[in-house]
């Protein structure tokens, strides 16, 4: 079954979010002082938490499998990856508990699949790890303006910052270029919920009962070596919701 999903045909609608969303200093100034697109309110706080929970499930599972594969051998790097795994697991737990306290049913853990090549080498593991972390950073930031409960906002922001730490560390461990690899410019870039979902949908072997809005554009955050297609690509052909553009 994995093989049928994870064949290597090229991916439709590949965009540059994963590879090229580097914001330089001068751009950052524009971002802050002119118009910036923020995600429209995309549901209740419960919806946002369930969205985040789905992402955290994917991340936690990713590190559980990757770390178990023994691809990271340096003691210090191993320690960092163990910490990252624990962080993602803690995020899953925290989001689940919070949803329960809100009286909102947490989404069930989806069936999560990764391309066979993902855990074949240190390089492929690091490559996808950096994509997941940067996607997580953008995903949380994309929801910043939509969260209404202040406690949840505080906590979600707190998780967001930790995902940014993870992204930077994996960049360092990967030997990535400082600007553009470890750092993504002077400001982080939000990613709309629809785009995030489109990007992670290929990893969801079973569609969870999320009620997520479909996305308009298909977006590929996968590194080139991990391109996917076929049935997974079909899942990605969704529509995204509109965005509002508040003036600063």
């Amino acid at each position: 079954m994995l093989n049928s999903i994870w064949n290597r045909r090229s991916f439709i609608g590949r965009t540059a979010i994963g590879a090229g969303a580097v914001i330089g200093g001068s751009t950052a100034i524009e971002l802050l002082s002119t118009t910036r697109v923020w995600a429209a309110a995309e549901g209740t706080d419960g919806d946002i938490l369930n969205f985040a929970l789905t992402l955290e499930y994917i991340e936690a599972t990713f590190y559980e499998r990757g770390n178990a594969a023994g691809l990271i051998t340096d003691a210090r790097e191993k320690d960092i990856f163990a910490t990252i795994q624990k962080d993602e697991e803690a995020h899953v737990q925290a989001l689940t508990d919070t949803l329960n306290k809100l009286g909102v049913a947490p989404v069930a853990k989806p069936t999560i699949t990764f391309p066979a090549a993902t855990f074949a080498s240190r390089e492929s593991y690091l490559k996808l790890a950096i994509v997941f972390e940067n996607t997580g950073v953008g995903a949380y930031l994309g929801q910043a303006g939509s969260i209404t409960n202040k406690d949840i906002l505080q906590a979600a922001a707190g998780i967001f910052g930790v995902e940014a730490r993870h992204a930077a560390l994996i960049g360092v461990i990967s030997g990535a270029t400082p600007e553009g690899g470890i750092y993504k410019g002077a400001t982080e870039t939000p990613i709309a919920k629809g785009d995030v979902l489109a990007a992670v949908m290929p990893f969801l072997g079973g569609m969870p009962n999320t009620g997520f809005a479909p996305a308009k554009q298909s977006v590929n955050l996968l590194p080139a070596g991990l391109a996917i297609g076929g049935a997974a690509a079909a899942l990605v052909a969704f529509r995204t919701r509109g965005s509002r553009t508040p003036q600063l």
Binding site: T98, A144, A155, I159, V162, V172, P190
Partner: protein, 234 residues
Amino acid sequence: MNQDPFEGRPVIQFASEKDRRAFLKYAALVGVGGSLVSALPISNVFAAASPTPSPSGSPSPSGSPNPSGSGTSQFGAGDIGILNYALTLEYLESEFYQKGLAANILGDDAKYVTPVAAHEAAHVAALTATLNKLGATPATKPTFVFPPTTFTDKATFLKTAVIFEETGVKAYHGQVVLIKDAAILGAAASIAGVESRHAAVLNYLTQTPPVPNPVEQHATADETLAAIKPFLGA
């Protein structure tokens, strides 16, 4: 690495690497006494130090779990005060990195620090531009003083950088729930994430735990300003 850049003065006390399993005790993001963060060591330290709202007496925004966030009122009302508070911190960071790079003490690690310096300068410019756009007066740059060996000893510089970055992260997170305008919130958060990246990299370079907690902690403006006071000159 044994040098103390603050000459024995307590600048800010950071939580030690905490047991992540303990986090699970406070795992729910709401409903455990206001927030999970209140259960963490750093907040306890601060809670003991400043149990009441700031002396300015300005009321905290309703619904805020961070009642002592009004320390920014000395910089202006509401979001303007928060932006000017952030600008003041960015001035400090920006000058610090500018001087550090100019001192040419970082060797190979300069490649990691050079972008950080550029980011902090961009933050200063962006916050200034935003304040101007809002019709507010940007805070003027204070005169900063740094301990003597800050720019002559690489280890001291990097250690100080870690402290500034961790302080900056906590400072932004302390304002997250107080910012009223959604666009300003988004912009501030987008800067905060970059400060987190800086903190992680600098911790890595100094062999300190790069992700001390599974969730970023936060500090009030009063706490942060007290922490940076040693660097404020006449």
